[in-house]
Symmetry: C2
Subunit: 316 residues, 2 copies
């Protein structure tokens, strides 16, 4: 079957033209893939009437804006009361639609991969001992192709050169500092910078020993300096940490604004650089022996390696 223009098949004229929708007309909700009440977002699997393909729809409420808040807080917004207690009253308010938009993303046609990607996955905490790392994690890492050419491209100035804020070119203790893709570089309170070390033989926190202390201290002090100079953000306004497990296995350090509740800054994922330095000073092989807890989805291949390994151990 050839793919005819959507506008002919999908809708009777008024809500879509060339994959561009003017409303959610004819969309049937199949399933809520994921609900994020904290951020007021939802991921939905849908199907348009008369079509076999799947759609994924992502909806998210928008933040209030300084420009329109006075219009929202006007006689146009009616209120219904929940309860009143002395000086405190709680209500449901109903602003005019044009002042209360939602952000919508429509993926159509969506593949099975899109649906899996946006489906809420069960997650598990795994306590990885030093031995687990050697027996399960490291062999798994060695089997993988990590696609970190993009990291080498940055370090070799073959890519993103204009984004680099600061570089210390020293091959032993040097690093490159640049903004994380998630940061818009406008809102300082969402500041998110990454320091990527020049050394290529340090996979993660697990590898760090006293040998790396000069590099870690260098990243800490020069990273903070560069951020202060470029953005005016003081050192006591910055949270500096490593991830374990990281999303790629070439040592890098996250610098985020203290006010920013950055994804991945939770305990059990983030390790303060100052704590890492202190612990290595206390004991050079602290991070080789320490049990590190990380969280993985059931679809994560590393989680499956752990399930396999735990089963094998139980059968011994």
């Amino acid at each position: 079957m050839s793919l005819e223009p959507l506008s002919k098949k999908l809708c009777k004229g008024d809500h879509v033209e060339n994959n561009e929708f003017t409303s959610f007309k004819n969309l049937n909700v199949v399933r809520i893939l994921q609900d994020k009440p904290e951020s007021k977002a939802a991921f939905i699997h849908g199907r348009f009437e008369g079509r076999d393909e799947d759609a994924v729809v992502i909806v998210e409420k928008t933040p209030f804006s300084a420009e329109t808040i006075q219009q929202v807080l006007s006689s146009d917004t009616t209120l219904t009361t929940h309860h009143i207690n002395d000086i405190y009253g709680t209500y449901s308010g109903y602003p005019k639609p044009e002042l209360n938009d939602i952000k919508a993303t429509i993926i159509f046609p969506a593949t099975e991969k899109h649906i899996i990607k946006y489906t809420d996955q069960p997650i598990h905490a795994i306590n990885e001992t030093g031995d687990d790392y050697k027996i399960v994690t490291l062999p798994y890492l060695k089997k993988q192709d990590f696609h970190i050419q993009w990291v080498y491209n940055i370090l070799e100035k073959k890519a993103e050169t204009e984004r680099v804020l600061f570089e210390d070119p020293d091959p032993k203790i040097g690093f490159v500092l640049l903004p994380d893709m998630k940061w818009d570089k406008k809102h300082m309170e969402n500041m998110y910078m990454l320091a990527i070390c020049h050394r290529r033989d340090v996979l993660s926190l697990r590898d760090l020993t006293e040998e790396h202390l000069p590099m870690l201290r260098n990243i800490l002090s020069k990273g903070l300096n560069a951020i202060k100079e470029a953005y005016g953000v003081n050192e006591d306004q910055v949270k500096i940490y490593l991830h374990y497990q990281p999303s790629y296995y070439h040592l890098h350090v996250h610098f985020t604004h203290l006010k920013f509740n950055a994804p991945g800054s939770s305990v059990g994922k983030a390790y303060l650089l100052t704590d890492v330095i202190d612990n290595i000073v206390l004991m050079s092989n602290y991070y080789q022996g320490k049990t590190l807890t990380f969280v993985a989805t059931e679809a994560d291949p590393l989680y499956l390696e752990f399930v396999k390994a735990r089963k094998a151990t139980n059968h011994d």
Copy 2:
């Protein structure tokens, strides 16, 4: 001036009666006290026309609900296009007001304290060394009246007895386990339980040594067991941590669902109980010597103590 009924002074008839509002009519925005774009909430200082008193208005967008999502994703919600790229399209959507309510809290008349409470405060990271704790923090704590009678009331079964899920009455290693006030006890993915130890001589993480290992291990294992039995939440679905600084200085442990991005679960505030146990096993006085980083607002008296102490040191 006597306080006449609001309905007479404030509005011409239709939007308020006995401190109950039917719209935001006549409200002038003085200032946005705090913007929380991540949770789509805002705190506003306002004044009603013809009134001298201040008002604080808190508005927050509501999560999507399974009951109404199909109505939101219908022909009633018009879309305007941001951009289209192949199968991906992003839009602004405009649901009908009754399907897109906001939660509003009106505090009126509001005091200066309300305004300060809801105003965004500058925050700072403080690196508290072991010596800082002895010289600055502990003397400050001793000066305070901590109002932890409510903790003793729970431990002595004078209050909240019906909320207690589990108790180990042992005076040395025992504890009481009960839901945190923030948890509705309905949504398992927001599970939030607190274990409060019976010992009254342990202020915080700072006091813990090998002497307390039996208590910590007891809280860990019996706490997880009780949660599994009562709520069916498996141990690898639970995050268990202490706060430093804690909100009250009587040792307690937080048990939250792994999926819940609980306030206070960030690195620099939360310390995994398993890490605490490991570190004390490694070195009994680990938490007396370790520099602990905590975040404080400028209005926090402990922050002011540190500012004073740092100045005094610099003048020496």
